[in-house]
Subunit: 90 residues, 2 copies
């Protein structure tokens, strides 16, 4: 069933799963604690914009792993960005 996905795409999919899944505990923790004092707003803003470019790059390369990972990371990093704006002290 996985015959048409070559070995390297398996490495890509492991990478994609790890970096995508990685953000979930952070989104959950920030949602629960509302503690965003340690976060850098420039970091999450630049990261979010960067993920858009990675998604475009992945679409051009027709990389299943990159499209999958960057679509979901786009959503989770956007959620974190909203939390940072919402909960930060001015």
């Amino acid at each position: 069933m996985l015959d048409n996905i070559d070995n390297i795409e398996v490495v890509g999919l492991i990478a994609a799963s790890l970096t995508t899944y990685a953000f979930l505990p952070q989104v959950y923790k920030t949602w629960k604690t509302k503690d965003v004092s340690g976060f850098s707003l420039p970091t999450f803003s630049l990261f979010f914009i960067g993920i858009i470019f990675w998604l475009v790059y992945g679409i051009y390369l027709e990389s299943l792993s990159m499209i999958f990972a960057n679509t979901i990371t786009l959503i989770s990093s956007f959620t974190l960005l909203v939390f940072i704006f919402k909960y930060r002290k001015r």
Copy 2:
């Protein structure tokens, strides 16, 4: 001079520059404030392992952007991981 880098590699390099540069304000802020209370340790651990897989994937794909980005992100995410271990309250 950029003739041998095609257009899509430019998109990849913009992506790489953004997500790589993005971590620097966070590393700086955490270094200065030692405030890691809001960080999720599972997030940064999984992210770090994921970046190793992305680097292997990028090397196989011979993607300059991915090799560049993931090498530097590996270093900055490792640095953040060290900070989280060092400064977290048990």
